[in-house]
């Protein structure tokens, strides 16, 4: 049983020809893998796009940079785990520079933000290609082999990926709900002027929140690197899917993020079994558009307009 090659958009290389129970569990786990990744990538986007109204088209490059960080660490002899540590740092560095150099100057000019971040995205892609050369970069997972889960056997690394993603998300929830920095973020997001009035440095809070989102996306890139085709252009698929997550799920709550990820990730995983990945993508896009038409404020928000 050889895992089927997967497109970078859907890191769910599937096992072939399953029995019913095997099939169900495998599909569920595949979906969960994709959902985990989407949640991590979508988190940063929910912060920047959803809450700060910044349309950052270079968000996908945080994922790319994270994946390349793992590749780079491995290629100079480091372990995967060291690479996985480097991934969020790489994402954070790029995110911080982007915020500082570009985004903070354009908060009041949404279309300009779209154009400038797209420019940065192209520059990063070509920069990576010029630095590391053409072609897909190999990244080896820390653990080969599978785990017997009674109903099915499943690649062990994917289970680790799911666990790390869930723990990260839990950590973020705790950070936002329990710490004073989390309180700052929530205050700034709810009312920027008011937050300034009570002495919160909103600029700094925005910058940190943005960098934080970039770091999480970088981590996602590091996690997905052994499963995906690591290319300078890999980011755009994550970008599109993460935007769907945020648009479908609605902004402003972790619940929305989860709902959006489940919708996009679940649908993609299930469809991927039946039809070609790009047709599956098209159907997910259409479903997302229809969902937005029916519930403009997101799946998770009770009131539909």
């Amino acid at each position: 049983m050889r895992p089927k090659a997967c497109s970078p958009a859907c890191a769910n290389a599937s096992q072939v020809l399953p029995d019913t129970m095997d099939f169900v569990v495998t599909t569920l786990l595949n979906a969960l893998t994709l959902i985990s990744i989407l949640m991590l990538v979508g988190l940063g986007l929910a912060i920047s796009f959803g809450l700060m109204n910044v349309t950052n088209l270079a968000h996908g490059e945080f994922v790319t940079v994270g994946a390349f960080a793992v590749y780079f660490v491995q290629s100079v002899g480091g372990s995967f785990w060291l690479g996985l540590l480097a991934a969020p740092i790489a994402g954070a560095v790029v995110g911080c520079i982007l915020e500082f150099a570009i985004i903070r100057h354009l908060y009041s000019r949404p279309v300009s933000t779209v154009l400038a971040t797209w420019g940065v995205s192209l520059i990063l892609q070509q920069g990576l290609e010029l630095t590391f050369g053409l072609g897909a970069k190999p990244v080896t997972p820390p653990i080969e082999g599978t785990l017997d889960l009674f109903f099915t056997v499943y690649p062990a690394y994917r289970l680790i990926l799911i666990a790390i993603a869930m723990l990260t998300l839990l950590g973020v929830v705790l950070l936002i709900s329990r710490t004073s920095f989390g309180l700052d973020i929530r205050t700034v997001i709810q009312n920027r002027e008011m937050a300034e009035g009570v002495g919160i440095n909103t600029r700094r809070t925005y910058a940190i929140a943005f960098t934080f989102g970039a770091a999480i996306a970088g981590l996602a890139g590091g996690l997905v690197a052994p499963l995906a085709i690591v290319l300078p252009q890999m980011g755009v698929n994550y970008l599109a899917n993460a935007f769907f997550v945020v648009i479908v799920g609605g902004v402003g709550s972790i619940g929305g993020l989860v709902a959006g990820s489940v919708f996009v990730g679940g649908l993609t995983s299930v469809l991927n079994y039946q039809i070609s990945p790009s047709l599956a993508q098209a159907i997910v896009l259409l479903a997302a558009i229809v969902a937005v038409r029916l519930r403009p404020n997101g799946l998770f928000n009770g009131a539909s307009r």
Binding site: G119, I123, L130, L279, P296
Partner: protein, 328 residues
């Protein structure tokens, strides 16, 4: 307003004159270069009609260009279809308009505007390119379809054959001129004025009895239809169609053409397309991967240095000579 209209018409007339005299000074190859650039200029004008008039950025406009191109290719390559060129062009226009109508309906009536619209159209472009690659039984996959014949038809005594350089140049230049002029008159009339009002305050427009989403949808569909037309023309001139034609890179290039040429001017984007493609050919001849890098830099430069396009340099200089600060 009147002076602005007059200026536009003067520049338009100058451009048309240049286009008419150009064949007397150019050889066949140079003609085809300008012809192909003009087709992309038409594509740029189609995006400008939507983006410039509504303020909403479509980030996947190449999807419509590609849809038009593939429909044209499939129609003309099928020997069973009579009048392939004519039906192909009509089909390309209709196909692009249809897709835009479906997607636009859900977005505009779902209240999707601004950045959300940009994102969804970006995804649309990505998917169109993927579909073109993976649906290889129809689209020819990565390598696309080749051997597309030039436009040629006999219709009611009218005999058209564009296999030669000069006729094809004239045909394309005439279409571009007519379409740009038509778009311009639409956008300064009632339709354009309501669109400007929608940009200012959509709720207010609706409260006056206008169906604002329908207006936006109609604008989007017309814009997509023209992009489809441009795609159809291009594949006949180039003789081939490939997934790149609906790809993200072309979608972003057309944005640069419009932004550099001057958003909302319709003519500027056409000129921007011609100028930038010249630059692209020169740069790509050194190193093909240099171009996307430069394109990225151009995006950033436009935003920070020239938010109103190349033509705004003239306005800035003018206001400098008049001793006033340029308007922000």
């Amino acid at each position: 307003m009147i002076a602005r209209d007059r200026n536009w018409l003067v520049i338009f007339a100058v451009c048309v004159t240049l286009a008419i005299v150009y064949p007397f000074f150019a050889d066949g190859y140079q003609l085809t270069v300008i012809r192909d650039a003009l087709i992309f200029g038409l594509f740029a004008a189609s995006l400008d009609f939507f983006w410039g008039r509504t303020g909403i950025l479509c980030f996947g406009h190449a999807a419509f260009f590609g849809i038009g191109g593939y429909i044209m290719a499939l129609t003309t390559l099928n020997d069973a279809i009579p009048l392939g060129s004519v039906l192909g062009i009509l089909g390309a226009i209709a196909g692009a308009a249809f897709v835009a109508a479906i997607i636009g309906y859900f977005l505009f009536f779902g209240g999707i505007r601004g950045s959300y619209f940009t994102i969804v159209t970006l995804a649309m472009g990505v998917i169109c390119q993927q579909a073109a690659v993976s649906w290889s039984s129809v689209t020819g996959g990565d390598s696309g379809l080749i051997g597309i014949p030039p436009i040629a038809f006999d219709l009611g005594g009218l005999h058209v054959d564009l296999s030669q350089d000069l006729p094809s140049y004239i045909f394309v230049a005439a279409i571009v001129a007519v379409v740009v002029l038509a778009l311009w008159s639409i956008s300064r009339g009632r339709w354009g004025m309501v669109l400007t009002a929608i940009q200012d305050n959509e709720v207010r427009v609706a409260a006056l009895g206008h169906n604002a989403p329908l207006r936006l949808l109609a604008t989007f569909v017309l814009s997509a239809a023209i992009a489809g037309l441009a795609g159809a023309l291009y594949v006949c001139m180039a003789g081939l169609v490939a997934p790149d034609l609906s790809g993200l890179l072309l979608s972003t290039e057309v944005i640069v053409w419009v932004a550099v040429g001057g958003r909302g001017t319709l003519l500027g984007p056409v000129l921007g397309a011609i100028a930038i493609q010249r630059a692209q050919q020169t740069i790509s001849s050194f190193n093909p991967s240099l171009w996307p890098l430069l394109l990225g830099c151009v995006f950033v430069i436009i935003v920070f240095v020239l938010p109103d396009g190349i033509l705004s340099i003239y306005a800035r200089l003018k206001s400098l000579f008049n001793g006033r600060r340029p308007a922000q």
